[in-house]
């Protein structure tokens, strides 16, 4: 009689106020998306922490592998010229 099948896991993202992006808040179990939203409201916004919530089935998230973290992000590592601080500008030049 005990339910051997666990409810699926959902990841919860909360927009704390208008103008900001949704941020990962945590996860929870729920039988479907609608219940996941309601549970997320009760669990992660008991003190007005949000104006909007996304719930995503955890199994649907594709993540990069920590095993290849160096090689995966390596292409950006040797391109300091992508940053404004890379460039020498004479002193006194304004608005640049």
């Amino acid at each position: 009689m005990s339910s051997s099948t666990e409810w699926p896991l959902w990841e919860v993202f909360v927009r704390s106020r208008r103008g900001l992006s949704h941020t990962h808040a945590g996860s929870l179990h729920a039988p479907d998306a609608e219940m996941a939203l309601r549970n997320a409201r009760d669990l992660y916004t008991r003190r007005n922490e949000g104006v909007s919530i996304w719930v995503v089935p955890s199994a649907e998230i594709t993540a990069s592998s920590p095993d290849e973290k160096d090689s995966f992000f390596e292409p950006a590592a040797d391109k300091p010229y992508r940053h404004p601080t890379f460039y020498d500008i004479p002193e006194g030049v304004k608005h640049l």
Binding site: M1, S2, S3, S4, T5, E6, W7, L9, E11, G26, S27, L28, H29, P31, D32, M35, D42, L43, R46, R47, S58, A59, E60, I61, T62, A63, S65, P66, D67
Partner: protein
Amino acid sequence: MATAHQPPSTAPHHTAAGAADTAALESAFDAAVAADERIEPRDWMPDAYRATLVRQMAQHAHSEIIGMQPEANWITRAPSLRRKAILMAKVQDEAGHGLYLYSAAETLGASRDDLLDKLHSGRQKYSSIFNYPTLTWADVGAIGWLVDGAAITNQVPLCRCSYGPYARAMVRVCKEESFHQRQGYELLLALSRGTPAQHAMAQDAVDRWWWPSLMMFGPPDAESSHSEQSMTWKIKRHSNDELRQRFVDICVPQAESLGLTLPDPDLRWNDERGHHDFGAIDWSEFWAVLKGNGPCNEQRITQRRRAHEEGAWVREAATAYAAKSAARTAKATKSAKSAKNSEREEATA
């Protein structure tokens, strides 16, 4: 590729050629911890680190869930609507804290059902403090002030724990706990300044909760079995005795402001140490409660099991409803599609 929670599929330390790899992984892990970086769910970590964290987070989650019981005992008898609303919000928070922590434990591959099963069968523990009864309304105040106060002292350093999901859960918990502690203090203050009978009730509650609260920090450093390794891994940041001393020093002036005394004749300021000295703790009581012989061990677990069993039909109904709605949606999409197709066929005919 993997999902957010899945541990990396290949575990190099399980292959024969992986010994050198394991050493490299281990030193990378040690370096990250030493540099105060956070370890995240899918990073490589020593098996013992994972096991320690799952055990600690599960025990912590169980404590939050069982901790709902002693206070919920007073919800129907709260002396005013204000106090009742506060107490309900607090007990609801404890449920929330339990859920944050179960989620954090699940990032390491633990399953929710399995954790609950271990709680219900006594294979995993919860904090012994919740095996004491709440005999009077003043106990709600004493729990807020002392038990939540001790919990905060323990939990604030956990916000910097080396395991990311645990640390993040603790940040959220600590923010919410501070309301818990203040409402308890305010409640005791109201009683302490009330009639002589109310004052006596507040004093009695503090007398009963003081020593068990000091035991919440765990056995003395010399006898604490998990401490040293947890400190190296930065799961723990301060020793049991250090945190206990900090808590005593915080409580003494707070008790004075309450107009209540702490039940320890040896409690006095030590100028040399810059701390309060306090009396010897009766550890035989601690071990007895831990072994299951506290006043409420049986009652707490029985009630937890009953709540779980009596909630089974709700979980089953929600699952059935979700399956039915999904099937309906699938059917509707299918018939909408076929209607469109036949329309198209008609148009081309």
